[in-house]
């Protein structure tokens, strides 16, 4: 029998905050084996880029 322990590193944003590495945003981040906590920082929810709906309209 082989017993293996796998480490799962989880970062959790504080209340009203979001984690980002500059490209991806999230409340909970599970780091890949080559990723580091230093690559992520907290920003306020208010400055997270919002989705802009497309303004192009197709007319029938």
């Amino acid at each position: 029998m082989e017993k293996k322990t796998i480490e799962l590193i989880k970062l959790t944003a504080g209340e009203g905050m979001t984690l980002t590495n500059g490209e991806t945003y999230g409340k909970e981040i599970y780091l890949g084996v080559n990723d580091f906590p230093e690559n992520w920082r907290e920003i306020s929810d208010e400055v997270v880029p919002k989705d802009e709906p497309p303004n192009e309209v197709e007319e029938a």
Binding site: I29, G32, D51, E58
Partner: protein, 243 residues
């Protein structure tokens, strides 16, 4: 046969004569639209004015291709399948594209397609899409988003499939899509509503980049709650950060 007899025969077979005329018209239309089966570039193909027909005042989608859809390019192909304006011009009935193409004996072949940007973006007239081979896709910007599509019968990805961070864009109602092949680019699926089975298929397709010392990102948002810690660990051990 005299003219009178012909007119009598036509009158007696009014419905079948009408249908024969309709069929001839359909064949002629799609021979032209699909260049007798030779067409491969479907950029903004479904322009609403060409595909919305009114029948007794009710608009419906007149999308009945005659030939296989062998696609090499299809940016914004189904862009016109859009009734979000609640306009009376747009049909209220949505199409199951898999069922529609099956009923016509037509195949959707995207295995040689490169530019599929916005193919199903702002497409609110479809509910289901057939299997999509995206192994040659080089442009998948805003591939799907602002859509009513809930099911894609499957997606095949490859090492070179060029997924973009916005391939699965906002307001993406997609609930079920089984992936196969390899996913080797960061992917953001947090705007979808994918089920557990779909998420597991995606997990299994992620390329292992742990030995390369790099990190790719799989953004699932709250969808990640559907995965167990063991499944999340499988993802991170492959060198993917789960967001």
């Amino acid at each position: 046969m005299s003219i009178a007899e012909k007119l009598t025969a036509i009158a007696e077979n009014e419905q079948s004569v009408y249908e024969a005329g309709q069929t001839a018209e359909w064949k002629e239309l799609w021979d032209g639209l699909q260049s007798y089966g030779e067409r491969t570039e479907y950029d903004r193909f479904c322009i609403a004015k060409n595909f919305i027909i009114k029948d007794k005042g009710e608009p419906y989608w007149n999308f009945y291709p005659k030939y296989d859809l062998n696609i090499t390019r299809a940016p914004a192909m189904f862009r016109a399948f859009n009734n979000e304006n609640s306009s009376a011009l747009y049909p209220s009935v949505q199409i199951d594209l898999t069922e529609r193409l099956n009923s016509l004996g037509v195949r959707l072949n995207t295995s040689n397609a490169t530019d599929l940007s916005m193919m199903f973006y702002m497409c609110q007239g479809l509910t289901r899409v057939p299997f999509l081979d995206l192994t040659s896709a080089t442009n998948l910007n805003s591939f799907i988003g602002y859509t009513s599509i809930t099911t894609i019968d499957g997606i095949r990805s490859s090492e070179t499939t060029n997924w973009a961070s916005n391939s699965f864009s906002s307001y993406c109602s997609l609930q079920h899509c089984i992936f196969s092949g390899i996913i080797a680019k960061s992917l953001n699926l947090s705007k979808t509503q994918l089920d557990y089975e779909s998420l597991v298929s995606i997990k299994n397709c992620l390329k292992d980049v742990s030995e390369a010392g790099t990190t790719l990102t799989l953004a699932l948002g709250t969808l990640a709650d559907k995965l167990s810690d063991a499944e999340k660990a499988e993802i991170t051990q492959k060198g993917w950060t789960l967001a």
